[in-house]
């Protein structure tokens, strides 16, 4: 049989163009020299990027996002990898239930998760605090780590650990020398997922962040709501570039 039907390819190409066009337009527009946006742009300038890099509010938001994202990445990767390993090792009943439980935050409407955390965290004084915000992000980021590490564990041959043990390697050595070198791409991809999730998260941040804790998405939302400046397009383009790099990283890790 010959390749796919030309009609299918044309339809797919059109939809893909629709999918990518808005982001590409934003990247082009972010170099606009004026506040009024024209396509095609009338001239190029780095004015809005300069504003993004020098304006205190944007700089602070970027720093907050990086701090929260790093904390979320470390916590989610640690807890998620441990849990995935536990799920892999323990062939106990109820494994499916636990996996469903671990991935439940992915399918719960974010607004419900956010509202619930806001309720519960206010009761114990965690709302509007940095630890509360990190905790909220970890909950929605950790399922990605679990799934990613489980996927790489599923291709790992358990016989290797038994072989290491039979050769007298204590468990920690077997893990460090045999298991870790084979599953680290899964862990690393999970870490990237976790960081990216935290960087992009908005709904939970809206409820859990304190008055001064502006992350990049929150600052963008505030900017749109108050008075939209093209700086937001520069911020969008930079976040888009970050997603592009994250995707390249996970694809490279997946091929390992």
């Amino acid at each position: 049989m010959k390749g796919p039907h030309p009609l299918l390819l044309v339809a797919a190409a059109l939809v893909l163009a629709f999918l990518l066009a808005p982001m590409l337009a934003v990247v082009v527009l972010s170099f606009a020299p004026t506040e009024v946006l024209h396509l095609p742009p009338r001239g190029l300038s780095l004015r809005w990027y300069r504003d993004f890099l020098t304006n205190d509010r944007w700089v602070l938001a970027t720093r907050n996002s990086l701090v929260v994202g790093t904390a979320v990445m470390v916590l989610a990767t640690l807890l998620g990898s441990m849990a995935a390993l536990g799920l892999h090792l323990g062939r106990f009943r109820g494994r499916g239930v636990i996996l469903a439980l671990l991935t439940l935050p992915m399918v719960t409407p974010f607004i419900v998760t956010a509202a619930s955390m806001f309720f519960a965290f206010s009761l114990v004084g965690l709302a509007s605090t940095l630890p509360g915000l990190v905790l909220g992000h970890v909950v929605v980021a950790v399922p990605f780590v679990v799934i990613s590490v489980l996927a790489s564990l599923s291709t790992f041959d358990d016989g290797l650990l038994r072989a290491a043990a039979s050769l007298g390697a204590p468990p920690w050595m077997a893990w460090q020398r045999v298991l870790l070198p084979r599953i680290w791409p899964g862990i690393a991809a999970g870490a990237v997922f976790a960081f990216a999730t935290s960087l992009d998260e908005f709904v939970i941040t809206l409820f859990l962040a304190g008055p001064g804790q502006f992350t990049l998405p929150r600052q963008m939302y505030a900017n749109v709501r108050e008075y939209m400046t093209p700086t937001i397009l520069a911020a969008s383009s930079l976040l888009f570039l970050a997603s592009f790099l994250f995707l390249l990283a996970t694809e490279a890790l997946r091929k390992r």
Partner: protein, 392 residues
């Protein structure tokens, strides 16, 4: 480590399970409980609540209840905690806030018998309906919020009835949310199917390139993409300029704040969510089915209708379910590009939390939203025999 793998597994799982239990399951449980509990009256007016519970509910309560009400209201005002209880009662009947505040301010000047001085201050105190309302609000459980979230209320005698037409907003809201989600899901599946089929049919590296083009927007922030639409749809923005340039419009029109903008942007944001499960299923299909059909003389249309479409159905259902699930709870995109009449349930939950500080209503709407999401997940499992977590 092989001696006690179960213990080790449990030790590895425990930290995350504890975290999820504390930071996710427990909060959601608190929300569910908040939707059905009434605590404001009991916590602010404990003695009155106890006396009213002992009251037979006929005519007016006894003198001690009047006295307790006058004293406790005055004390609540003094200690600045009257807002909660007055807001709770005012939510059920407009005018209760004014009644409670006036009574609380007059409290120190009132004298026994309170069964006479309270009605003299405001005739509402001589109305058994006022007292029944307060008694019913003394909890501990209530169906008020769950009923109100479906535009029902209770009469003073406790019968369920529809609220006044000018107050009925929620059934319209749920129908709108379902309708918008349905339209978005349909658009995503129809637009996404050819892309998924192309990803499955193309050879590397073209298939990877197409998949990459779907993953890229999937990975970029929902807020970034919504903001992009907000910028593009401005009155002086590129979309308006293009429409005018093409002669489709005489002058730029307002696009932000319309239903069309919400549908366009939401469908765009959720499109990758629909494509990925469909592509996942189609990539695993055995190409020999289509080859066999072709060798038997089936044309492209027949192969599409009889082979590819039915075999891709599990993926279509999974993609549609995932899209619908995200759409019913969607907040950012409608909030950014929609008008007041285009907002979905999620926006109202946020409003009740942030502006009205009415946690009961926010919780009740969350309960129904969770029910909708659960129903979608259950339907998917019923039709495909698989859960959502295994879908992508």
């Amino acid at each position: 480590m092989l001696a006690r793998p179960k213990l080790l597994a449990a030790a590895l799982l425990a930290p995350l399970m504890l975290l999820l239990a504390g930071a996710f399951l427990l909060p959601v449980a608190v929300t569910l409980a908040t939707a059905v509990t009434d605590r404001e009256v009991t916590s602010s007016l404990p003695r009155t609540a106890a006396l009213l519970r002992a009251w037979d509910g006929k005519e007016l309560p006894p003198e001690p209840a009047f006295a307790a009400m006058a004293e406790e209201l005055a004390a609540a005002l003094e200690e600045r905690r009257i807002g909660e209880v007055s807001q709770r009662l005012n939510f059920e009947r407009t005018g209760m806030r004014a009644l409670l505040l006036r009574t609380a301010r007059a409290g120190p000047r009132l004298s026994a018998p309170y069964a006479a001085s309270l009605p003299a201050l405001d005739p509402a105190w001589a109305d058994p309906a006022t007292w029944k309302l307060i008694r019913r609000a003394a909890g501990p459980v209530t169906s008020l919020y769950l009923l109100r979230a479906l535009d029902f209320t209770r009469t003073p005698d406790g019968e369920v009835q529809a609220v006044a037409p000018d107050q009925a907003v929620f059934r319209t809201l749920f129908l709108r949310t379902l309708w918008v989600s349905l339209q978005v899901t349909l658009a995503c599946v129809l637009l996404g199917w050819p892309v998924a089929a192309a990803i499955a049919a193309l050879r590397p590296p073209w298939s990877s390139a197409a998949l990459f083009m779907v993953l890229l927007p999937f990975w970029s922030s929902v807020l970034v993409r919504s903001t992009a639409w907000f910028a593009l749809l401005q009155r002086e923005g590129p979309v308006n300029q293009a429409l005018v340039f093409l002669g489709l419009l005489d002058a730029p029109i307002q696009l932000v704040g319309t239903r069309a903008a919400v549908l366009l942007a939401t469908a765009h944001v959720l499109l990758p969510v629909a494509i990925l499960p469909m592509a996942g299923v189609m990539m695993r299909l055995d190409p020999r089915h289509a080859q066999a059909a072709a060798s038997l003389g089936a044309g492209p249309w027949l192969r599409f209708r009889r082979i590819l479409l039915p075999l891709s159905l599990p993926g279509v259902l999974a993609g549609a379910a995932m899209t619908f699930l995200l759409a019913v709870g969607f907040y950012i995109t409608p909030a950014l590009v929609g008008g007041e009449r285009d907002q979905l349930v999620a926006w109202f939950i946020a409003q009740f939390l942030n502006r009205d500080v009415n946690w009961g209503m926010a919780a009740a709407l969350s309960v129904y939203l969770l029910l909708m999401a659960g129903a979608v997940a259950a339907l998917l499992r019923l039709f495909t025999g698989r859960g959502l977590a295994s879908a992508p």
